[in-house]
């Protein structure tokens, strides 16, 4: 990066220039060698041939002089020259170092042969010369020998010229080959130079291009660096960079703010000092993510609920962070980047949401209604406390399960829930019968579909309205009775007077026919008859019986009116505490002696079981009314028992008293014929009776009901199984204040 202006010289270039220099040098050497060859080879040989020719010619000359008689000349001048010629020739043929210089041996075949011929001629010439010298001593000039010598000499010269010409031709060839080599060398040189130029151009161009790209790269790196620096500075998250040992090397401004450390102070400090974090709940130090990153060499997130303590413990921030290693190519850690941000607000929001959720849950749980949330598949999503209480199924158990499974008796409602969700309209089921903890209850069910925010499902609200339903029933009952009572009150006076006329008139008629009344006989005799006759007639014509019938019918009508009047009369405030057990005992006694009971039912054979709560003594009531109530129930039970035609059955009535939450509970239970569900609802209706006409007035239970509910502020229920028996339960408040 530092030496970025130079481009590495390509090795091809080096190689090429090496080869280029070598080839050129080789060529120069070769040319030099050729020159050398020309100058040092054939040229000295030419010199030597010329020198041999010269010496031979000189020797010839000297010989002729000598032979002419120039005695001054001695053969001593001739012979050395001949030797020299012979040495030249030998040197030319054999090469090597000779007294007359260094020669290369004759390398050309023609040359060698010619030289040998020359040597041959010269040797003959030498022999001839020696002969002439010897003859000179003995004879004169002009012999045949002389001519012969001359011829020989001429041959020799011709021969030596031939050698010379051969050499000259060789020199000529040398030169032309030299020229040729020179030309080739030039061309090669040129080519090489051209290639070198091209390569060099290429190299320069590459270098320039490289330079540009390097500059670009450099600029880009600079931009990147700036960009990165700006990013790190401007980013909303805190950023700390450490070296591989975990010492801080960089903090961005946000990190400076959050940690309270300036970049200057923090540098070189261990990360644990600068980035001091603890667990939100335990407030114990948490392992620095940097250490973890260094150890695991991978990105790690911070555990939730971490708090960063700023320098000097001045401030705390809830943070969330993550650390990442900076790795080189060899997976070695170069440093660690730690990014974190202040989540105090988020955490606060989370807490707020959690507390809102808790608040809402509390609200939902404190509702007295059963609240069940369901999704479109009718699986439970919400299960409040009341739901848990009523079903005995905990929230954890109920969540996610189908509604029909956790509330099997609610199966009727499931369709309504689905309907509410699909139609997006609320649905109601009023007074739905539900069993809660085994008891029969009535519930109002409201299904509200969830229509906001894309949440699908519904909320089912179930209110136990059993008490309300009972109260309503009671009110309806009371209303019925009051209307009967109002009617009765209105007509009682008008009916009672004529009834009085009928009943008392009949009584007088019967009395006036009776022999017991003193005046009757006298008046009969005054009329010319006897009371006995009159009575006999009456008996015969059943007139007395009719009269008795009129009287009884009148009495019965009067009794009905009197019973009806109970409904109109709010009893006077002569309620007083009475011993319930004593009251019941006396009523049972009364029942046993009751004419009607004795006559119609076999009351004596009914076993009466008394089960009194000893804790229950004084109960505020009106004695006579209480007696009437119990008597009416006993009569009803006796009737129910007589209706059950089962000889195996042992007739039994159980009277139970119990103290119950400021109420006296009185039960009259029989094992009679029972009442079916339909009749159970109507059993307290005035004039409702299952007895044969003329036997029941249909008022007994109504009157009992009315007295208890209206006069004693209590309530009455009936529980019955057809064929099994009936239980009447009445409750009377022990405190009179409840009006």
């Amino acid at each position: 990066m530092q030496d970025d202006s130079s481009v590495p010289v390509p090795w091809q270039l080096f190689t090429f220039f090496g080869a280029f220099a070598f080839i050129n040098l080789a060529m120069v050497l070769y040319i030099f060698h050729l020159g050398n060859l020309i100058v040092g080879h054939h040229v000295p040989q030419v010199d030597a041939v010329m020198a041999a020719k010269y010496q031979a010619a000189e020797a010839h000359l000297w010989l002729e002089e000598f032979l002419k008689g120039d005695v001054k000349e001695s053969p001593k001048n001739i012979l050395p020259r001949m030797h020299k010629v012979s040495a030249y020739l030998k040197g030319l043929i054999e090469g090597g170092s000779t007294p007359i210089g260094d020669f290369h041996s004759a390398d050309l075949p023609d040359l060698k042969k010619t030289l040998r011929d020359t040597q041959e001629k010269f040797s003959q010439l030498k022999d001839l010369l020696n002969k002439r010298l010897v003859e000179k001593e003995s004879a004169g000039i002009g012999t045949d020998l002389e001519q012969k010598f001359d011829l020989m000499f001429r041959d020799f010269i011709q021969e030596i010229d031939k050698v010379k010409n051969l050499l000259l031709v060789a020199i000529e060839e040398d030169i032309s080959s030299f020229r040729r080599i020179q030309g080739i060398a030039f061309i090669i040189s040129f080519l090489l130079f051209f290639i070198a130029g091209v390569l060099f151009f290429q190299y320069e161009r590459n270098k320039a291009a490289n330079l540009i790209s390097i500059q670009k790269e450099k600029k880009r790196a600079e931009t990147n660096e700036k960009w990165l620096a700006t990013c790190m500075k401007c980013m909303g998250d805190g950023l700390i960079i450490t070296d591989p040992e975990g010492s801080v090397t960089y903090l961005n401004p946000v990190a400076e703010t959050l940690t309270g450390w300036s970049m200057k102070d923090a540098c070189e400090k261990p990360i644990t000092e600068v980035f001091n974090i603890i667990n939100e709940d335990s407030r114990k130090p948490v392992e620095s993510p940097v250490e973890k990153v260094i150890r695991e060499k991978k990105v790690v997130g911070l555990a939730n609920h971490t708090i960063l303590i700023a320098k000097g413990n001045e401030r705390e921030y809830a943070i969330s962070d993550s650390g990442a290693p900076i790795l080189d190519e060899g997976e070695e850690i170069l440093g660690v980047v730690l990014v974190f941000h202040d989540v105090s607000k988020t955490r606060e929001l989370e807490r707020e949401i959690a507390s809102t959720k808790r608040y809402l849950e509390n609200v939902v749980d404190s509702m007295p209604s059963v609240l069940v949330g369901v999704n479109p598949e009718c699986n439970v999503t919400q299960w409040n406390l009341e739901a848990q209480k009523n079903t005995g199924i905990s929230q954890a158990e109920a969540l996610g399960r189908p509604l029909s499974e956790v509330m099997p008796e609610f199966s009727l409602g499931v369709n309504k829930v689905k309907e509410a969700i699909s139609k997006k309209e609320a649905r109601k089921i009023m007074k739905m019968p539900l069993k809660i903890n085994g008891d029969k209850h009535f519930s109002d069910v409201m299904v509200y579909p969830l229509v906001t925010n894309g949440i699908e499902g519904a909320v089912v609200r179930i209110d136990d309205v059993t008490d309300k339903v009972r109260l309503e029933e009671m009110m309806i009952q009371t209303e019925k009775m009051l209307s009967v009572g109002g009617l009765a009150a209105g007509m009682a006076h008008e009916i009672n007077n004529p009834l009085g006329g009928i009943i008392q008139g009949t009584q007088n008629v019967i009395r006036r026919l009776s022999p017991e009344i003193q005046g009757n006989s006298e008046v009969a005799e005054e009329c010319g008859t006897t009371l006995t006759n009159i009575r006999a007639y009456m008996e015969k014509r059943k007139i007395l019986k009719f009269l008795e019938g009129i009287r009884e019918s009148g009495n019965r009508a009067a009794k009905i009116i009197s019973n009806m009047l109970h409904f109109s009369r709010k009893s006077e405030s002569n309620m007083a505490p009475h011993s319930l057990s004593r009251l019941i005992d006396s009523t049972i006694e009364l029942a046993a002696s009751d004419y009607d009971l004795k006559k119609k039912y076999d009351f004596k054979h009914i076993e009466i079981e008394r089960d009194y709560d000893e804790g229950l003594e004084q109960v505020p009531c009106i004695e006579t009314e209480m007696e009437q109530v119990i008597l009416n129930f006993l009569k009803n039970s006796a009737h129910a028992i007589s209706e059950k035609k089962d000889p195996e059955m042992k007739p039994k009535i159980i009277i139970r008293t119990r103290l119950e939450k400021e109420m006296a509970r009185i039960e009259v239970e029989d094992n009679g014929c029972g009442i079916d569900a339909e009749n159970c609802r109507r059993v307290f209706d005035p004039f409702f009776t299952t007895k044969e006409v003329g036997i029941g007035t249909g008022l007994g239970l109504s009157v009992a009901y009315f007295i208890i509910t209206t006069n004693f502020n209590g309530n009455v229920e009936v529980e019955s199984q057809k064929g099994e028996g009936t239980k009447f339960i009445m409750r009377i408040p022990l405190k009179r204040s409840q009006v």
């Binding site: 006076h493 007077n497 009834l499 009085g500 006329g501 008392q504 009584q507 109109s568």
Partner: protein, 126 residues
């Protein structure tokens, strides 16, 4: 128990009731005087005859039974009374209670058997 010598006043506007009571008590041996309204009865009480008992209906034309009893007591302080009424919701006014009239002296019409009234009178006179 002898009923002879007992003078009984009956006031009732309903003729049949009056006649029945009159007949019954006469047969029982009482000396009975029956009137259909309070005014006539009071007029009679002002006379010399002393009554021991009165059976008084409440709803009467003119003066009602309560007023009649008050006035009759003024006229004949020793007289006892039975109230015999068709008003089922009758309650005894305080003035009558002060006079010593109790619930046992009140009978709602119709009594099934007039012996009940006769027994009540015997009880009162004892």
């Amino acid at each position: 128990m002898s009923s002879s010598g007992i003078r009984l006043l009956i006031v009732d506007d309903e003729e049949m009731i009056r006649l029945n009571l009159e007949t019954y008590f006469e047969d029982e041996g009482y000396e009975v005087y029956a009137f259909q309204n309070a005014e006539e009865a009071l007029e009679f009480l002002k006379g010399k005859l002393e009554f021991q008992v009165g059976i008084i209906d409440l709803r009467l034309p003119g003066l009602d039974g309560n007023a009649l009893i008050l006035k009759a007591r003024e006229l004949q302080p020793g007289m006892k009374f039975l109230i015999y009424t068709g008003s089922t919701n009758y309650s005894i006014p305080q003035v009558l209670i002060d006079m010593g009239i109790s619930r046992e002296q009140v009978f709602i019409k119709p009594v099934a058997d007039m012996d009940i009234l006769s027994r009540a009178i015997s009880g009162l006179l004892e």
